[in-house]
Amino acid sequence: MTKRILKFNIYRYDPDVDRKPYMQDIEVEVDATDRKLLDALVKLKAKDDSIAFRRSCREGVCGSDGMNINGTNGLACLADLSTFPDGKTIVLRPLPGLPVIRDLIVDMTQFFKQYHSIKPYLINNDPLPERERLQSPEEREELNGLYECILCACCSTACPTFWWNPDKFVGPAGLLAAYRFIADTRDQATNERLDNLEDPYRLFRCHTIMNCVEVCPKGLNPTKAIGKIKDMMVRRII
């Protein structure tokens, strides 16, 4: 790929100056060294320094640059420029359902509040052993597909239930984290964790729409984790 002009249509809102949000058309030239959408955004910002977005690691592991790209949530640093058809405008919006602070930057308070609500830390009240707690490779494997979450919020903000009840429904990211601790043989708070989710909204508002699975940039499956928690709830009653 040599030089190429990319057309963008970007959601803009700066509460200091804009009475309401608007969509801005802007173009930028990229070259062969620009591989990802984030590279193009960095060039856009050099052109217009008022465009605001979050970014850090640029390799899909810090979770900063989640945004809505042509209608689908994803990370700008993993969206390959070669996948955008020539001449077609790329539409960028902030992650849906959360309040916008400015441009592509959303207020993630509600998202993290839900994450914190599931007690995202290991609970084990035994006296600390001198060495590591033992765990077999098979037991450890249970955590694969769970611990890799980067808290980018692509999943929760793609979830209609989370849009409607961000204050009551934990959301896919938080529930994935809840199951990460339930599945950990070192954790002793399974019952407490299930109690914490025993509520018409917190867990059971998941209607297995599976948007979360589709958008997760790490290829994780929150719906499966949610299903396992629901199973445990049912088995607990029987």
Partner: protein, 595 residues
Amino acid sequence: MKVTVRKFDAVIVGAGGAGLRAAIQLSEAGLKTAVLSKVFPTRSHTVAAQGGVAASLGNSEEDHWHWHMYDTVKGSDWLGDQDAIEFMCKKANEVVIELEHYGMPFDRLDNGRIYQRPFGGHMSNFGEKPVRRSCAAADRTGHAMLHAMYQRNVKANTQFFVEWLALDLIRDAEGDVLGVTAMEMETGDLYAFHAKATIFATGGAGRIYYSSTNAFINTGDGAGMAARAGIPLEDMEFWQFHPTGVAGAGVLITEGVRGEGGILRNSAGERFMERYAPNAKDLASRDVVSRAMVTEINEGRGCGPNKDFVLLDITHLPPETIMKRLPGIHEIALQFAGVDALREPIPVVPTCHYQMGGIPTNFKGQVVVPGKRSQNEIVPGFYAAGECACASVHGANRLGTNSLLDLLVFGKSAGESAVDEMKQSPKPHKELPADAFDRTLERLHRLNTQKDGASVHETQLDMQRTMQKHAGVFRFADLLKQGVQKIIEVQKDVERTEIKDKSKVFNTARVEALELDNLIEVAVATMVSAEARKESRGAHVRDDAPDTPERPDGRDDVNWLKHSLWFKDANRLEYKSVTLRPLTVETIALKKRAY
């Protein structure tokens, strides 16, 4: 501009590995602590560490902290302080076990213990043969670690100030540190955090180079703030170029790939490391491997149409091993090199990765500067840990997996030192001086009123290209000399950067301009210190200090076995001696480094 003052017992700047580890110490001691971070804690760059954390647990084979200490001293090319190195290697098991207790999902051996893999420069029995010392969670060790420590802080109710950018260090007339000024990014409002203890854990500044494995946020904020407040920076000429950054993209490919059996090959398909390091081969120390790669490329044995990279080959490894131990690498190779690593080798080049130097500290995490009584006088109220600090355990070259260990051990010890100081000799807050906010207000005023200034983006690129060309893997006396002039020219542009956007709410243009103020201090410190050091040692290898019988590898212990201290004031350099005496064991005697 109004500055609101908030009082805390302690303020920690940075919420990566070192900051979070220090925060656990302070929060669990019940002190009123503020942790400032310009990104949500789990976005800090520790998250990108891959291969593991070193500890001589001996889970797979016999190991000993003393062997680890030997390797670290040798890796540092004897520039590391042996008291700090002994302290770190001895503490390794304790801090890694603590992490496991916090819930870190380490990989496991069949007997249930933590999985360990070999890593470059880590050997058994004082340099004999590679040893499995790196404790790993697949190739996502940093991510697993950072999340586990954030989670532990959630449990401990640590008070975070997320997306707050620290701006300047506050010192009084006696030189005591009394906190920092900071900007809340969401509102653009200014605050001062008035504290009895200020702990810097701001990470490195790898973004001074054009090609870097580092995140955008690695802008040396702590080093910049310290330098502006008159604190020297130590050993800034030593930068680690990681052998395996993805060619073109710069994204890191862990050394764990070679730990699991990966091999570097040139255009002839030759495993060239056999020639450069007959014993350790691909697992020699990073500086050695990076130089070998650049030599291969310079001598025309590079790969690709421009012969400008070499290949990292894992196609001979069982696919199960790759998918189990290196799943993230498989993903990165697909995403950033467009290759399926199961079938094709990955194009790689040495890429700027780690800042060995930094804010000078002792092994307790206390910041020390030369004074009337000693070359290491404690700066009251000031601590630093992790990549922003120089304890110095890495000396002229860091071993892989020692960075995660560094941030755990010194994050903890900085936290402990701050707690001890406050509990043993409780004192009220010292009064803020009248000029406490002046530097910050001047910087912001300048930026808000600059006319016909320089572009932040272009100036940063100028700096990065200058560093890349003049202070790279191999260094040349004439290029370094020109480099000093050039980087001082760039500094003049940094002093007149202009932002078009003057708004208050989440103004990332302003943030980037303020970050560049920090980067440039690190860049100038690096170039000036590198130009002055007329020897080759570790990662600093000069053309005019070649390998000779009198000075093997160009190392000059008679004149240069000393730490550089760069002061912002007139780019002044001072030197201080290396601590060769460990805490309890015998000195590891100077000798030629060979792998």
